[in-house]
Symmetry: D2
Subunit: 299 residues, 4 copies
Amino acid sequence: MTVPDKHILLMDGPDSKGLIYHVTGVLYRHNLNIIHNDEYVSPSGRFFMRTEFEAGVAYDSFDSAVLLHELQTTVPGLGDHTHDRAEAPGQSGITFRLNPKRRKNIVVMVTKEHHCLGELLIRYAFDELDADILAVVSNYNMLQPLVSKFGIPFHHISHEGKTREEHEEAILRTIAIYEPEYIVLAKYMRVLTAGFVNHFPNRIINIHHSFLPAFVGANPYRQAYERGVKIIGATAHFVNNDLDEGPIIAQNVKEVDHRHTAADMATEGKDVEKIVLSQALKLVFSDRVFISGNRAIVL
Amino acid sequence: MTVPDKHILLMDGPDSKGLIYHVTGVLYRHNLNIIHNDEYVSPSGRFFMRTEFEAGVAYDSFDSAVLLHELQTTVPGLGDHTHDRAEAPGQSGITFRLNPKRRKNIVVMVTKEHHCLGELLIRYAFDELDADILAVVSNYNMLQPLVSKFGIPFHHISHEGKTREEHEEAILRTIAIYEPEYIVLAKYMRVLTAGFVNHFPNRIINIHHSFLPAFVGANPYRQAYERGVKIIGATAHFVNNDLDEGPIIAQNVKEVDHRHTAADMATEGKDVEKIVLSQALKLVFSDRVFISGNRAIVL
Amino acid sequence: MTVPDKHILLMDGPDSKGLIYHVTGVLYRHNLNIIHNDEYVSPSGRFFMRTEFEAGVAYDSFDSAVLLHELQTTVPGLGDHTHDRAEAPGQSGITFRLNPKRRKNIVVMVTKEHHCLGELLIRYAFDELDADILAVVSNYNMLQPLVSKFGIPFHHISHEGKTREEHEEAILRTIAIYEPEYIVLAKYMRVLTAGFVNHFPNRIINIHHSFLPAFVGANPYRQAYERGVKIIGATAHFVNNDLDEGPIIAQNVKEVDHRHTAADMATEGKDVEKIVLSQALKLVFSDRVFISGNRAIVL
Amino acid sequence: MTVPDKHILLMDGPDSKGLIYHVTGVLYRHNLNIIHNDEYVSPSGRFFMRTEFEAGVAYDSFDSAVLLHELQTTVPGLGDHTHDRAEAPGQSGITFRLNPKRRKNIVVMVTKEHHCLGELLIRYAFDELDADILAVVSNYNMLQPLVSKFGIPFHHISHEGKTREEHEEAILRTIAIYEPEYIVLAKYMRVLTAGFVNHFPNRIINIHHSFLPAFVGANPYRQAYERGVKIIGATAHFVNNDLDEGPIIAQNVKEVDHRHTAADMATEGKDVEKIVLSQALKLVFSDRVFISGNRAIVL
């Protein structure tokens, strides 16, 4: 039996009436069957849609270029002549992406802590990450033995004796070799400058060890202990110019009590951090995450 | 400024290619704007869709009968001539519901415990229930004073000296006066016969004080204590012929430890029960719940 | 059968070696049986203990004054001669409280929202609050009908046309009539001055509608929406001079997603708020909460 | 500065008056300082206590044998002459354990799934497991490459062509080489006979991929899907003769919805399973878990 391939269509742009109708119409006329469709219109009028569809067995291939062209010329704004309705001509402004690259290339950056990195390596080793870890970069060398077990290049780029700019420049040169689609900060504990971040807009994902926006900055578990919170958390988010301020992809929490020292919270928190990071990466790498201003839309 | 009315269209029936396209096309041609659309196709090929839409300000009314007729004659199966495609004629089998009655009429049944009933009464008093509590029926009279505070009829129908059938018959006669759309079992602690339940198919909602299917039947907290579980829960579900076996609408849980006696668990569990029941009712009364076999689909 | 009474002993003071031994020794010599004992020593060396004990059936009463005196003279610091050990004489500095008043008197303050108040009233009506609600004070009158159902005095003290000081003074005068042990801010939406708060040190309990310390101040759900969080929460805490800064008693959270508007979050959050407040009050009123600096110790 | 060693004393036996007093008295007279003390008395009258204490800097060692002897001869039942009280002489029946072996030896058993094993290996590699993994035993060989990365012996003992008894006998012979204190079933998917289990009373820990007691037996995620649950879970428990019936050590859950297929639930559930198993092992290996009938007491 031939299992039909699953295809993914992503849309992102200004909302207008009839968008779902026009898009599903193009798919229908190509004899493509929608398996799942999810859309969202932001309060500011931005439209996001993610459509999974499959071709029938008799039509198990279709011309992607033709389909995309038809989508771009059929949706309102570009002129819709299907039903003889007068629409204002012009650009619809919708961005269509058909079947984005399934398996992403990533570089992972770490400092000293192993728990998030270990989680990613195990998932990678068993093909559960939807991504290839091309390399691991660290400002310390202590995680090299772990990375070596999995046959992945490890680059120790120490920050010692370097200015921040020199250090980031060295990292950038190394990353450039791999041309990754995403940079994953799996407990990379140094602040990145805007200069660095701007190289990878919406392509850097960080795990912060607090329930943001509580406890931005350093030592969040120490802050959490001092504040006497009864719940700790972790936040996976895109990194933009402002530290700990990018769109939040996933969060989770865990109960603590007065017996937990800051160190205990840090230990307990690690389990939350690594799972939240993994879940966020799974969402991003399966093309389910859109960005709307400072908010992440998960379809 | 005129705020456009929000309308809701519900669909339930066999899946076929182009359903979303045809439905959204009808709405588009009526100049109706989709605000939110959610659909689901079950593994067995059943299609469910819930569409929220609004009419433009210039078109702030539309003819529901015309719209429904067009939906029923346009979707595939009934023959789709829009695009000169040859579809097998005949019944599409889709059930359309346009703007189901917004505010449901309900009768609440209780025994002795007040926590779920109190929750419903407070929500009702402040118009948060999306329903009118027409009456409360109980086999005990101890909750009468509470119900009286809120000016709602209370019917004490004791089971003492009656056979189960006589008792249920008396309840049915009382309920019949009110013609409720839903019966809410807010800790009604007697088993209902199939004879009773069959009067209200998929219209009885129960809160069970365990994380079903664990601990069906009586004394679930006692069972939970004996088993030494570390988490307790509550389950809101439709009632069908089999006790504690209908489609699950909502569940939630709470951590416990070895210090909790069965009585402690019961006390802690009450907070979970009443919130889970309220959340389930909110979903049902806003027409977001479909039934697919023994599973509840929440769109 | 005579069920032995349960007694509670609370201790709070500087830690020193042998504290548990000396206290349990006094109880032992009085033939009192410890049912549950929980203690905590803070990093700064403060000792907290909560002991539940019962007298045997043959000794179903004991002299509290004698017991307290013996505790105060036996524990180290005051001189421990029991075992001929040389301890530095002087004040142990431990505060002992034996059988604190079981049922607390409280005044509840509200503004316009009913959900927390309704929760408290229902619990009070069914004797689940471990407290007597002596009165409800509000700067609006819209919750008067609800409060009246439960036969509790309602004081509408509008802030309009008054300075903050005049308003608080009027509230204080009203509260003074009732001599409550605790003030419960069940969604009282005005900031209280230090002048007001200082009248009730560690005796004012507030519910804040965010997962503190995220989103202090006004409109936390609006802030949460803007930040795009994936989890919302609520925090019950003691009120001290700094707004939203007192010791946290209890917190809980709920998942949200990008579809939740700020208004949706506020609606969903109410269920969390009222349960967290109730749980915090239960802990405080059963004398399980101690304060250590800015942290709440729950034994 | 000399950091005083932390010592752990475990007690388990029939409850009687004065137990805490007598034990803390022995520690006090040895100049030992209690850091944390937690105790529990079961409804059936069994007493459990876990005491952490440290010796003063001046007394940084003490004679364990002397201390244990004194504990055994001082607590009530053996005769308490400290205060000239007449106690019935005889066995107290209390079992004392002082400073149980800190680092446990374990053998891990697996079948095909890697997620729990990977979690344990990473923790072990970074000394976070409080245990040494002496060997991994599997009825398949597919996890051998993973285990090899960490330099741990892997024994492939296939069940093919063997009776259940022959297979278990072969496993037992292999395990016997290592003399482990605990057997960890990290997704070992074959039922163990009572004959096998009886070799390791309360020393086998299993992770079951459901929220027990819901969905015992095979394919719990399939069962969960069929039942339409809204929450899935995992349970770590001791294994005794009855399958999936031993004392529960830890449980956790995760929300699902109607879109999750049984396979989706299995994927999502893996994150819960591995964390729950790790947390349970952490509790057991730090000697915080006592067994009371079919319930696990966590102090």
